[in-house]
Amino acid sequence: MRQGPFSGLLIWAVLSAAIAVPLIAAGFSPQLQWRDPVYIVAGFAGILGMALMLVQPLLAGQYLPGLTPLRARRVHRLIGASLIVAVVVHVAALWITSPPDVVDALLFVSPTPFSVWGVLAMWAIFASGVIAVYRHRFGLRLWRLAHTALVVVIVAGTIVHALLIDGTMETVSKIALSVLVAAATIRTIARLRPWARFRR
């Protein structure tokens, strides 16, 4: 892909806005005034995690200008680790806010329809981190297939989780982020074709 310096700048500007706008919009949520700081942190950890999910496929698919493939891969790993931290903070802070609600969610007996999607995405993110650490023990194709399968669960689970929640995220920015994350993920999977066999 040939790109001038300005198109590169534009891509980074759009990406930054796609991440910043949902966070800023959530900062204006009326619900914040009725929440303790710990509960507020829980919500924003979730939003940040979802926003970071937009960067991951763009790094994996080499869509971001100015990054060498090696650099992009390192940043992808770093953000992957950050995602795990964001999920842990999200769940831990929710646990502090209301322990029985989180226990219900983790045991899949919550009355809220969105919990199961969030918990599925959480386990898929953790599993993704584990297999990433041990990826050299897998064959390349198996690693790519497994990681992609988990990513599908992570992205789909997170989007459904977020869309069903009446929380601090502003509706339009939430839908927009969901569409962007889904589109970036689908496009990257279609481009990288993890099911394809490598010719040596």
């Binding site: 209301s98 029985p100 219900d104 009355p111 969105f114 009446d166």
Partner: protein, 168 residues
Amino acid sequence: MTPPMTPPMTPPMLTRRHMLAGAAAATGIAGLISPAGAQTLAPTPTMRGGANNYLPGAAIVERIGGGGFWMTGTVLRAGDGAPLAGRRIQIWAHTTEGHERDPESHGATLTDANGLFRLEMPQIVPAFGQAHGHLACDDAGFETVFLRPLLASASDTSLDVSFVLKPA
């Protein structure tokens, strides 16, 4: 989820609330009637998560906090649908004034001679993804029921909830 509605009754004094309860019953009663007997009112089952952040023995109060939101409802006996007077209903929620687990977010009230209760509390706001309230009826003589009804809209300023209690 909408809690089971009350059956039609002939109240001694026809108030707006009675009219609403009657109208709701006309549309919502089908699920309560067991096939065995048309006069049998099924008990209200405890809802998932209903007991979360429950603090036993919440005090009977005039209202919870500053008020502004009305939690109302009916308490009936399973089977014959007789109104139950003097039943203690405990209510708590995440409101504009505090979290569910805060003791000051909890309060209780008693049903009147017609089995009706109403308690003013601060405005319920969405928490853990849904605007919802919690109600408990754990009086002796009847099986304990915990409810977790949802507000149809987060801007609603009242919620009507019915209990049908099964004698223990």
